[in-house]
């Protein structure tokens, strides 16, 4: 039983270290990327898995807390992509255009309605 707990603790430490590395890389991505949408890409993915992995690691090291920690993991997994999607749509509709090397933009056609109403409100 004691060795089993020891093994769980080592696995937990591994997850904690891995998660903190991903959190660091996500923050580095937020800092380095050239425009808003790419920052969102780096930030969402890396920070979601990073936080999930840190929380899971703590759960393995402290099995009594596991239920609540799983609730946190599920909540992060559902809420993080939702909030990044809301931010991406909001910033596109407020007029921030992505950075392109070669322009590929299918969404532009859908946005004309929003821009027309903006111009009306300015006049």
């Amino acid at each position: 039983m004691d060795t089993f707990n020891n093994i769980l603790e080592y696995i937990g430490l591994f997850f904690v270290l891995l998660g903190s590395i991903f959190l660091f890389l996500g923050a580095l991505g937020i800092y380095r990327m050239p425009d808003l949408y790419n920052r969102l890409q780096a930030g969402t993915k890396a920070s979601t898995l990073g936080a999930m992995s840190v929380v899971l690691g703590v759960g393995l090291m402290q099995p009594g807390w596991l239920i609540k920690l799983i609730v946190i993991i599920l909540f992060i997994g559902i809420s993080n992509p939702l909030s990044s999607h809301a931010l991406a749509r909001a910033s596109y509709k407020s007029g921030i255009r992505p950075f392109f090397k070669k322009k590929v933009d299918d969404y532009e056609a859908e946005d004309t309605h929003g821009r027309a109403s903006d111009e009306e409100s300015i006049n």
Binding site: R32, K45, A46, I67, V71, P81, H85, P98, K101, Y107
Partner: protein, 172 residues
């Protein structure tokens, strides 16, 4: 606000979901917590029942459980791949990116399935769902390799949609 689609069964279903969320967040069986949760859930369910149309209950067959497990593993592999992909791009001093916004059409009809697909796409390598209008998905892609609609669909959505279509086949 019209209360047109109000019905007792919908109200009870909403109450059940809201109370489940309360219980997940408190995880305690003390009478005071349970009673507070029931009262609050009744009030919140009464306010939100007219707007709560995303998650209609579906019939879950025993055979679906295999698909849920399969989806979970497909998703987990994609999530881990996505993270190494982001790490590779961020560490590289030249920032190898070629972003663009592409679109594809989904075969799913159920709103909840569309939400699951959109969230999964956001968490997979190099793609971010910007908007869903009807059955059209608009995706910000960090490294656009093709403009062909079929190849875009195959590249981004196919692994997830294959499994989701099996679960939601009878609800299409």
């Amino acid at each position: 606000m019209s209360r047109k689609n109000f019905s007792i069964s919908r109200y009870l279903y909403t109450f059940f979901i809201v109370f489940l969320i309360w219980y997940a967040f408190t995880t305690s069986l003390q009478p005071a917590e349970i009673i507070t949760g029931i009262i609050l859930s009744l009030v919140v369910a009464y306010i939100t029942v007219v707007n709560f149309d995303c998650c209609d209950p579906i019939l879950i067959m025993p055979s679906h459980i295999i698909y849920f497990i399969q989806y979970f593993f497909v998703f987990l592999v994609a999530l881990v791949k996505a993270n190494f992909d982001v790490a590779r791009r961020v560490i590289n001093p030249k920032l190898p990116i070629n972003p663009g916004i592409v679109s594809f059409e989904t075969k799913l009809k159920n709103n909840f399935a569309k939400m699951v697909l959109a969230n999964s796409i956001t968490l997979t390598p190099g793609t971010l769902t910007i908007d869903v209008i009807g059955n059209k998905f608009y995706i910000h892609w960090i490294d656009v390799t093709t403009k062909n609609k079929d190849e875009i669909y195959k590249e981004i959505a196919e692994p997830f949609e294959k499994v989701l279509l099996k679960i939601y086949r009878s609800h299409n």
